[in-house]
Amino acid sequence: MSLATPRVRAPAWLSGRVLLAFAAVVVLLWAAPLLLPMSEYTHNIVGLTFMYMAAALAWNWLGGYVGQISFGHSAMFGVGGFVAARAMLSLGLPFWAGWLAGGLIAGAYALVWGHPTLRLRGPYFSIATIGVGEATRLVATYWSGFTGGSSGLSLPLAGGPSKFQLYWYGLYLAAGAVALSYWLRRSRVGLALLAIKEDVEAAGDLGVNAAKYQDIVLALSGTVVGVCGGFYASYQAFIDPQDMFSFDRAISFILMAVIGGLGTVLGAAMGAIVFVIIQEFLLASYSQLYLGLYGILLVLIILFEPLGLAGLLLRARRRFGWRPKPGVAAGGIGSTAAGARLPGVTAGQAAPPVEPPAQAESGPR
């Protein structure tokens, strides 16, 4: 057996069908506002949903793929937003350059706090990120020279993209995040991340440099969330630190990913849709209930379907006789690399039985 280097070819994870479906969805969404009678409100909300999708997916790289739950992603969102706003206001950069600058600086900022903090695992890391979010919020609120303090910053309306145009930029952002998520999930890097999630020490023994991979993922995640912050700044045309850096914002990323399905690609995207629907339609009328509603949702999901919407989808498909290939279910909340284990089983005793095992039918009655 020789260890010849494999020839250059399309990576195994990139199947034609997936690529086709992805392209079709993107084209459909791209053309939708031109073909469908869409109210301005819906148009804008869908554009914002794209941004949330990208942010949720980016959070999910760290929270879902590596299993490091970050309560501090509002920091990068805010940094991205304010750097972008400043770049447009003070430097007169075009909006896209502002977003890019915001993203890059947010990514660098993520590395600065993340490199030492990512040595911590699980709850240690999570609670440290609460500190990151809080400290960043405080500094941003008091650094009024840069952020405008509690009165915030208003962006020039001229020169930037209109809300109408932002729909398409949001779409590109979300599409890029989906593609990147897919790549991260299925590539060698994704395997390394899964290994780190399962057992850092074992992964280290196999030659996976956990520190390096986690740094890369956090920087990537911070960059994308930073770009989302820039997008949000352009979308709102006004940002203030209390909103951009709020704990509620940090929570929103977690909620979207957990509602949709921790560690899944489609799940996090679906989670963003559900999040916006809840936010816009349910909570418009019951705004005092939103935290509690999300809290209850979180509890129910963790107890009954830790893979969220993606888990429900898997369950539904399995009911119709579809068997997941190994690897499909991998990466859930308490995953195993084998992926053959059903997501419901890992939820512990609380999870209701996924379905009667197939053998029961073939066995003697």
Binding site: G67, I69, P116, T117, R119, L120, R121, G122, P123, Y124, S126, I127, A128, I130, G131, V132, E134, A135, L138, V139, Y142, D199, F247, I251, I254, V258, L262, Q288, L289, Y290, L291, G292, L293, Y294, G295, I296, L297, L298, V299, I302, L303, P306, I333, G334, T346, A347, G348, Q349, A350
Partner: protein, 291 residues
């Protein structure tokens, strides 16, 4: 020198409260390996309980401590029995319990918001502005009282854990649950007891906090961070370690005013956490197990 002494005494007074605040979190983590993220929410809820008892029934906040202990013991036992019990133990359950208890915290916050609005509240007793003189400088009476009650609570807890059957059972389960079942300890009951006890301690800390600080439904996030820093600094679970961790944090925070603007005080804990975890992952005393 005089100023430094004043700050040092302030720090000691603060450390007493911090130790009481962190112990509940440490106890639950030591035994169940679950970080009770709802800890901050319990603190907030207990502060509101004391406030309600004070404004409605004119109960002195210090007299509402027994009520809070009972109420939050039941709340904690319920959280364990109804929710946490169903999650897997070990690393797979860590993320789940984190998110689950975070959900509980959100619900608590929302409840407080619905019942009492988002306004800042404070308990103003008649003696709220009284002061006590220690070594030539005066300190708020409330801070001294809180320090004293915290000490009593810590000593009582230490005696409970070392002298009683259930206390010893808790420590045994922290070390090895499997062996405990072999010698006939009802591990499940120990878990309920631990979660109840840890939550009751958070309730105590919440009542104490209500006499020192103003609070609103978001109260508790930095307290959670501080408690966590303390149990990590002190090594999880021993009384001495917790006291040491609390002292280090309190001194760092109080003396940080020489170095950073005062609004950054709550970030000091975070910096300390990162520094210690990078240098000494096992905590200052290098112990992780509840002894």
């Amino acid at each position: 020198m005089g100023e430094a002494l004043t700050l040092a005494i302030s720090a000691v007074l603060l450390a007493g409260f911090y130790a009481a605040m962190a112990y509940g979190l440490g106890l639950i983590y030591g035994v169940l390996r679950v970080v009770n993220v709802a800890h901050g929410g319990i603190l907030m809820a207990a502060a509101y309980l004391a406030w309600q008892l004070f404004t409605r029934f004119h109960v002195d906040p210090y007299l509402s401590i027994p009520v809070a202990l009972v109420v939050f013991f039941v709340v904690g036992a319920a959280i364990y029995r109804l929710l946490v019990r169903f999650l897997p133990r070990g690393p797979a359950g860590a993320v789940q319990s984190l998110l689950l208890l975070f959900g509980v915290w959100l619900v608590l916050r929302n409840l407080a918001y619905l019942l009492f609005t988002g306004n800042d509240q404070a308990i103003r007793t008649r003696y709220a502005t009284s002061a006590v003189t220690i070594l030539g400088d005066s300190y708020s009476l409330n801070r001294v009282l809180v320090f004293g009650i915290s000490l009593v609570a810590l000593v009582a807890l230490h005696l409970f854990l070392t002298r009683t059957y259930w206390g010893k059972a808790i420590r045994a389960v922290a070390q090895n649950p499997e062996s405990c079942t072999l010698v006939g300890i009802d591990v499940e009951r120990v878990y309920v007891l631990t979660f109840g006890l840890g939550t009751a301690l958070a309730g105590l800390a919440g009542v104490l906090a209500s006499t020192l600080f103003g609070f609103n439904p978001t109260f508790g996030a930095t307290e959670l961070l501080r408690s966590f820093v303390i149990i990590v600094l002190g090594g999880l679970g021993s009384v001495v370690g917790i006291a040491l961790g609390a002292a280090v944090l309190a001194f760092a925070e109080v003396f940080s005013i020489y170095v950073v603007p005062s609004y950054l005080t709550s970030a000091v804990g975070f910096v300390l956490l990162v520094v210690v975890l990078v240098l000494r992952p096992g905590g200052l005393l290098g112990q992780r197990v509840l002894r």
